[in-house]
Symmetry: C2
Subunit: 701 residues, 2 copies
């Protein structure tokens, strides 16, 4: 039996990956059968597609240059014996597949926006099916490519190069670093693009000129729609590819440390394959009637995700027992799964306008924009309590149930348990991502419906889909953040293992004093806790800067193009797209480079103990900041929508104006800075692992 687990399972998981990719292909073909609608719609859709393509092409060029530099650095380190030769290549593939995930997602999203709008002419259910199928393409591409990449490397390293277990996981962690770097570029760049366009379009269009959202007279409207695709779709694809892969490989690495065998390493891969199966079954259950009632639509999606979650909860019990002969680890997986759902529910509670917090927030708009800003910030900060408690409970449970003790000697199984919790949380990513990625498609569809002047009933339908997308996006963010915290912790544990391995090779011993009263650990903790703040600041500032340039350009066009406001002349959409592209690409480099250099610099000064402090500090404060910013942003957005539904004076009232200010502040919070921090905290750990040998050899303290 052990023979089967160690030698055949990797091929099984590879097969699972291929099934996911085939399913993505199948969903794509389903979407493409639908019509793109009339000529205007086609034209708009082509403009969006062109803009998104142009952006991604330029983004990939810059990223490729970065990867080439890093490749050279890693090769040099391999020459000096600080790394194995697999590392540079693993790094490249991780980046490649992460980028590919985003690219495929963008392709299908831009191909299905007009189709969704057109399907909404016929019925809401049809619209939902097109948009959701497009989301599925993205979801299953991400999990398929992720599991494919891991399985192939595993097979290659084990059966072709015949490496030991710990060497295999070592190389695989590097490919996580590649994926994280790519994801950070995509999230930051795309996030700046989309929010600069959105903020810019809103500030001049909605607030100054008083024209509705997505009005074709607004010169930034195409850029805004392009942004949804390059930020919310391509960025999210790369991001979640990274999360998925990161959780699996960190669990594999800790499994090897805990059991010394390949069995525990194989379990996360098998869970991932099971999750793909469960997700696929779940997608077939998503369909709705004709009511645009939020609750009914949500129920349609929930039916799919909940069924998948239950399936995986049931299936993973026998599988875990079969592979590890130990049922305790099942509870870690279950804890992760439940924690993910619970954080999602909390996120929804704090950000959906069906609950009290967002309703209360909407009421603060009556005393102006200052009070809604204060209210939103305190709402977001307050919303961190429950997720922190949920994740803490998951950590304690998965650690102690799996047999981890307080003394560090018997910690390895407990740490493996924590890593498995992260895998459990992300196991149904196929379908949760599908429900998440369909949102921007619906958003775009609404834009196209508006610009093409379709019947208001169509816009109502796309709005219903879009609004639901906000809720599922909130849930998705909960998963992303929760899994990021658990994975980051697992990676810190892997880092310590790596340092021990390096020390053993050098014939030295590791001073395992990661005690909080060790000043090196403590200052590392301080600096680490500061990093997410700095990162959030830089990305927000970038959005602000880019948005200001859009504002200036839109104002210029309104002023200089005669007949624009009367709808007699066309604005110059391309100049706004180009402006967003240039500024977001310029701004995306610095934050990412800081994220990569910081752990190396801290390591060279404070040593590996300082790095452990850094990683723990960044994880704690990053987790909090990410939740705070995402939830504040989400609540502002929905408070605005709630007011638009007619309360507190409705559209155009002073309350609404105040709420628009809140929403505008929330845009970079929830779609640029917040989600980037999730990637940041993992990237820091992965970079530390890759540069562990260097830091071990050279450091001041």
């Amino acid at each position: 039996m052990d023979y089967f687990i160690e030698n055949c399972l990797p091929y099984v998981t590879l097969a699972g990956a291929l099934v996911a990719l085939l399913f993505a292909l199948f969903s794509a073909s389903k979407v493409l059968k639908f019509s793109e609608g009339n000529d205007t719609m086609k034209k708009i859709s082509v403009s969006i597609r062109k803009g998104a393509n142009a952006y991604l092409k330029r983004q990939y060029t810059i990223v490729a240059a970065f990867f080439a530099c890093m490749f050279v650095v890693l090769c040099l380190m391999a020459v000096f014996g600080l790394l194995t030769w697999f590392v540079p290549f693993a790094f490249i593939t991780g980046g490649f597949f992460s980028g590919l995930s985003g690219f495929v997602g963008m392709k299908i999203a831009t191909a299905s926006n007009a189709r969704t709008a057109n399907a909404c002419i016929e019925s809401l259910n049809r619209g939902l099916r097109v948009a959701f199928s497009a989301g599925s393409v993205m979801g299953f591409t991400v999990v398929g490519l992720g599991l494919f990449d891991i399985s192939v490397w595993f097979i290659l390293l084990k059966f072709v190069f015949r490496l030991e277990a710990s060497a295999i996981t070592g190389a695989m962690l590097t490919f996580g670093m590649g994926a994280s770097s790519m994801a950070l570029f995509a999230r930051v760049g795309g996030g700046i693009f989309t929010k600069a366009a959105d903020v810019g379009a809103d500030l001049v269009g909605k607030v100054e000129a008083g024209i509705p959202e997505d009005d074709p007279r607004n010169p930034a409207v195409i850029a805004d729609n392009v942004g949804d695709n390059v930020g919310d779709v391509a960025g999210m694809g790369a991001d979640l590819y990274e999360s998925y892969v990161g959780s699996i490989i960190s669990a594999s690495a800790l499994g090897v440390a805990a059991f010394g065998s390949l069995k525990a390493m194989a379990l996360p891969l098998v869970l991932a394959a099971l999750g793909i199966l469960a997700s696929m079954l779940g997608t077939f259950l998503v369909r709705t009637g004709e009511s645009t009632d939020q609750k009914q639509l949500l129920r349609a999606l929930r039916r799919g995700t909940n069924t998948s979650a239950v399936l995986i909860a049931v299936l993973s019990l026998p599988v875990t027992y079969y592979i590890l002969n130990d049922v305790r680890f099942y509870f870690a997986i279950l804890a992760g799964l439940v924690a993910g759902v619970a954080i999602g529910a909390v996120t929804e509670y704090f950000t959906s306008d069906t609950y009290r917090p967002t309703k209360k927030l909407a009421a603060t708009s009556e005393t102006g924009s200052a009070t809604i800003i204060i209210g939103g910030i305190s709402l977001g900060m307050l919303s961190t309590i429950l997720p922190i408690l949920i994740v803490s409970a998951a950590i304690l449970l998965s650690y102690f149930v799996c047999g981890g003790g307080i003394a560090s000697a018997d910690a390895s199984r407990g740490l493996y348990g924590i890593a498995l919790a992260a895998v459990g949380m992300l196991s149904t990513l196929g379908i949760t991502l599908a429900t998440d990625a369909y949102g921007p498609v619906a958003d775009n569809a609404g834009g196209i419906a508006e610009m093409a002047g379709l019947d208001p009933a169509v816009r109502e339908r796309t709005d219903a889909l879009d609004s639901l997308g906000n809720t599922t996006a909130a849930t998705g963010k909960g998963f992303a953040i929760g899994s990021a915290a658990l994975t980051a912790l697992a990676l810190v544990a892997s880092y310590i293992d790596k340092i021990k391995e390096v020390a053993q090779k050098a014939g030295e011993t590791v001073v395992e004093n990661f005690n909080l009263m060790n000043p090196v650990v403590l200052t590392g903790l301080f600096i680490g806790a500061c990093l997410p703040f700095v990162f959030a600041a830089l990305t927000m500032e970038s959005v602000g800067k880019a948005a200001q340039s859009i504002v200036v350009e839109v104002r210029r066009q309104f002023k200089n193009i005669t007949g624009l406001m009367e709808g007699k002349a066309e604005p110059d959409y391309a100049s706004c797209v180009d402006l967003c592209t240039r500024s977001s690409l310029r701004e995306m480099v610095l934050p990412t480079v800081i994220a990569i250099l910081c752990p190396i610099a801290v390591g060279l000064i404070l040593g590996y103990q300082g790095v452990v402090g850094l990683l723990a500090g960044a994880t704690a404060s990053g987790f909090l900041l990410a939740i705070f910013m995402s939830n504040s942003g989400g609540a502002w957005d929905n408070a605005k929508k709630y007011i638009e539904s007619g309360v507190h004076g409705g559209k155009g009232s002073d309350s609404h104006k105040a709420a628009v200010v809140g929403d505008t502040v929330g845009d970079p919070f929830k779609d640029t800075s917040g989600p980037s921090i999730n990637i940041l905290i993992k990237l820091l750990s992965m970079v530390s692992i890759v540069f562990a040998a260097l830091v071990f050899k050279y450091h001041i303290f």
Copy 2:
């Protein structure tokens, strides 16, 4: 010589305390000799005084009830042998003196606001001298009472009760808990009052009705001025009393742990006495000419503070050598002193409109309130880097120079070094607080000048003084935050010592696993890092709620009192004062109670290892959040003032309106939540220390 140090020095420091108190009395008599001006000014001043008195009376009633409850709890714990009988009494005195510091400050501030305004009629220099003397009363009362309290307890416990060194410091730490509890009530309650009044007055008065700040027609104008006194003065007094006392007693406690003798315990007291001397000399150097030029005024104040800092830097070298026979500890003191000045300079750089960040922030107002909010938040977040690095450097330096090692066995001297750095940072508190406390006096003077319709030249002079006050307040905040971080760390070390002591008495051993990979420590860290966020959220929400009630009341008066806008009828000032009083007192209880219950609850669940994680997490995230919020708020305030000086359209322009929104959001940031967090992180540690025996005996994990 040792005999002299151990037996006579406490009397010397007591004498130093008395000198400080005498100096405060002398400054007070100087202030009271000036005239309060004409009848209108007297009348206004009396209203403010009455409001402030009424508020404090009701606040102290509530706080007294809280202290009575805590006294009973502590007595019960003493009955069960979980505490010594000194603890309940020490707790009460700490609270009493902290409250007294605030009370005296408020008394002198409300006595000197009209006097400052009247002195400004004559000359700027005269105005500065009155306001600065009032600040000095507060500064020297705080340090005098602090050192008095510590010296008396020390003498009592040592010479009357003849306790051992560790028992002395144990009791003294409790009195820190009393001071911190009182300080938190004062800061939170006063902070909510002042900002509710300020925000409420601005939102309706400036934004809606379009009347200038401090216009007598605004019904909330007296409440606003009362707020300056109960929040910025009484709150700050209690706060800094707590900081001062906390740094000294935590250093004393660690000194005993490191040296096992009273010598190291006496050093912080002696440094404090020296600091009083240096501060007194410094105050004589503060005087200015007739120019309202900011730089010249600032130079006048800086002459005083810098001279004091240099004096203490010189004097502490021989004293340290004399007491400890070891010059290394001097460098820890110096590191703290320099770090304090450096953090102050960074704060000034980020918040003063003479530098780039605030100027850039002011420019973002041109694209509306959303961009200035985003800009201010990112400015504040970005401004955390340098203070974090400065404090980290101070920690590493003071730890390693004083002979702390990486292995925990030889850590005690290093930790003592960190605590001494905090003492060094606060040693010149007498004068830095004087320059800080004079700000609200000048602010009030400006209000009185406006309300009494004095010559615009007078208002110009008070504005010059007030504006300078913003800068010195920023510097003061830097000191408060920096010292809070260092003191909090010292208190964590004291907590671990306390746990060891408790264990020894119980005949058990302590598992000293405060390792970051211990899941109990880690979850403690997560929860601790979350606390400042929750605390900030609660206090901001309170300000928002209270402000909204003021807005409603002011709108009501504008509508119902005929002739009010034309200046023919008087508004009902008292109702606004009363409203602020009630809502701030109601809102101040919950955050403080949470701060006290949280470490106990976490301790009972996660055990003492979890508590150590909690304290470290709260310190790291609290430090960051406090700096972020203070600096964002300060920068918004000054960006608004900068625009009022005529750039970006000046007063009344759209840019100015946007800047007012920023300033309004910044108000609770910088004057309620931010400064409260400093107290919070120390209170958490002190509560943990007092309840250590309970937690050691009963806990789940």
